[in-house]
């Protein structure tokens, strides 16, 4: 049976379940809105390692082993790991995978990687290629900052539209089963470039991609946005969220009542991070620490989880290119 629907979507005939999740966060995130929800909060942003990159690898490794332990399985039971981060050549991920010793596919979708890895994981499981898959991502404020922007100790003023890269990692164990929240459908995004060039305004750059994917999902699967209890985008922040609501209003749809952005769910207002959270771990931390327990407890029944990524590099913006963006959506239902 063909599982493709419409232009960009798939529905799963045997929907895989999310068996367990784990999230580990940095100290600032640990004091934020989701305080108390993380499996582990680090005391500082090095966790005893001599550089931030090693700390990021440690976070991912820790998230994966914790999630696998919570799922009741052993690492050896995991058929595939699908993982990614923000760093060049996925180094945080590659070093985390070195010690985990399981078959692994590295994915780069910038901050959309959590949704991307869950989607591909669900396809592998529904396709009968394995029984247990782990999807995981990480991001670290300082590793991202030094790669994409300035040295962290440089005294520059961040604009109010800027977002703060989340220091955290999240991991999800997926398997073929019946008992748990199911991944029922997914929509693969296409690159949308609305011509935004300033890498400080990533939320606004990604908002049109999120709108395009959600819109396409509705068309392909034949559902209204109101079908979902909540639609969550990954890391658009305050400004991006407002833009998504406006762009949908222009299409004659009001999504303001059942729409939230993960980037607005991590930090408190008084943490002075300006427009919200960003990074792979923005959507991953919210999904793994907060949304999954809500779904497992039946407090949320149907969500659309939309990972959003801005796929620029330092080279591309120095060459004055605009920011190509992508969004991937997965529907998780109890």
């Amino acid at each position: 049976m063909n599982k493709k629907r419409g232009q960009q979507s798939v529905v799963f005939s045997i929907p895989p379940i999310l068996k367990a999740t784990a999230a580990i966060a940095g100290p600032m995130e640990g004091e934020g809105l989701l305080a108390g929800y993380y499996d582990q909060v680090m005391e500082d942003d090095l966790a005893g390692y001599d550089n931030w990159e090693k700390c990021e690898s440690y976070m991912m490794e820790q998230a994966v082993t914790t999630a696998v332990k919570k799922s009741g399985h052993f690492m050896m039971d995991i058929d595939f790991l699908l993982a990614g981060d923000l760093l060049n050549q996925l180094i945080a991920t590659n070093f985390a995978m070195r010690s985990l010793g399981r078959p692994y596919l590295g994915l780069y979708g910038a901050c959309s990687t959590m949704a991307e890895s869950l989607m591909i994981g669900a396809m592998l499981l529904d396709g009968g290629f394995g029984n247990k898959v782990v999807a995981t991502v990480s991001s670290h404020h300082n590793t991202a900052e030094r790669q994409y922007r300035y040295p962290t100790e440089l005294g520059v003023q961040r604009p109010l539209v800027a977002q703060w890269t989340v220091t955290a990692a999240g991991a999800v164990v997926m398997e073929n089963g019946t008992d748990g929240p199911k991944v029922t459908a997914a929509t693969i995004g296409k690159i949308i470039d609305a011509g935004i060039k300033d890498p400080n305004t990533m939320g606004p750059a990604m908002a049109p991609a999120a709108v395009d994917t959600i819109w396409q999902h509705i068309q392909d699967i034949g559902r209204e946005p109101a079908y979902y209890d909540m639609i969550y985008t990954g890391d658009l922040g305050k400004v991006g969220k407002e833009l998504v609501i406006r762009l949908f209003r222009e299409k004659g749809i009001d999504i303001s009542r059942n729409y939230e952005d993960c980037g607005c769910m991590i930090y408190r207002e008084d943490q002075d991070i300006h427009s919200g959270a960003s990074g792979c771990a923005s959507s991953a931390a919210v999904l793994c620490a907060y949304l999954y327990p809500q779904l497992a407890a039946g407090k949320l029944k149907k969500i659309l989880f939309v990972g959003t990524g801005s796929l620029h590099s330092q080279t591309s913006y120095q060459q004055k290119e605009s920011i190509p963006c992508i969004a991937h959506a997965i529907a998780v239902e109890v």
Partner: protein, 154 residues
């Protein structure tokens, strides 16, 4: 023809969207930023002046005192960067802490600290001037050009 129309349509969407973004984007808190920059910048310069007067009091010539003051201010900028304070200051004071010579020290020490992990040669040595490098290059060019003009007019 179709693709050209498509391109035009995309362009108008992008223009409209940019306007929408500009409308929603939080405006910089100009007055607050100006006040912070004025007072922090002023404070840094006052500290510099205190040192300069002190050095003149030690019977240094004005030129010698200026050099000694620069050295002290560069040290302070570097020191507070090392303590992790200068970036917090810069976040509030903006140009108030970037423009004085302490900001220049910060722009060299910050990358030096950051890239120490990549070693003394390819880390500190190669990356120390990533921020200050352009300032030095164009500063030197400006000095040469203005020196040349001065020589012509003299």
């Amino acid at each position: 023809m179709v693709s050209m129309d498509g391109k035009r349509e995309e362009q108008t969407f992008n223009e409209q969207y940019q306007r929408m973004v500009d409308e929603i984007k939080p405006k910089p808190t100009l007055m607050k930023n100006l006040i912070w920059a004025f007072f922090i910048g002023g404070l840094i310069c006052t500290i510099g002046q205190v040192f300069q007067n002190y050095f003149i009091g030690l019977s240094l010539t004005k030129k010698e005192a200026a050099a000694a003051t620069s050295a002290v201010m560069i040290f302070l900028g570097a020191f507070f960067t090392g303590l992790g304070v200068y970036d917090e200051l810069g976040q509030r004071a903006g140009a108030g802490s970037v423009v004085p010579i302490t900001g220049f020290a910060n722009s060299i020490v910050a990358p030096a600290m950051e890239f120490k992990r990549e070693g003394y040669v390819f880390g500190i040595g190669a990356k120390m001037f990533v921020i200050a490098g352009p300032v030095i290059v164009y500063g030197l060019i400006t000095a040469v050009v203005s020196g040349f003009i001065y020589w012509l007019l003299r």
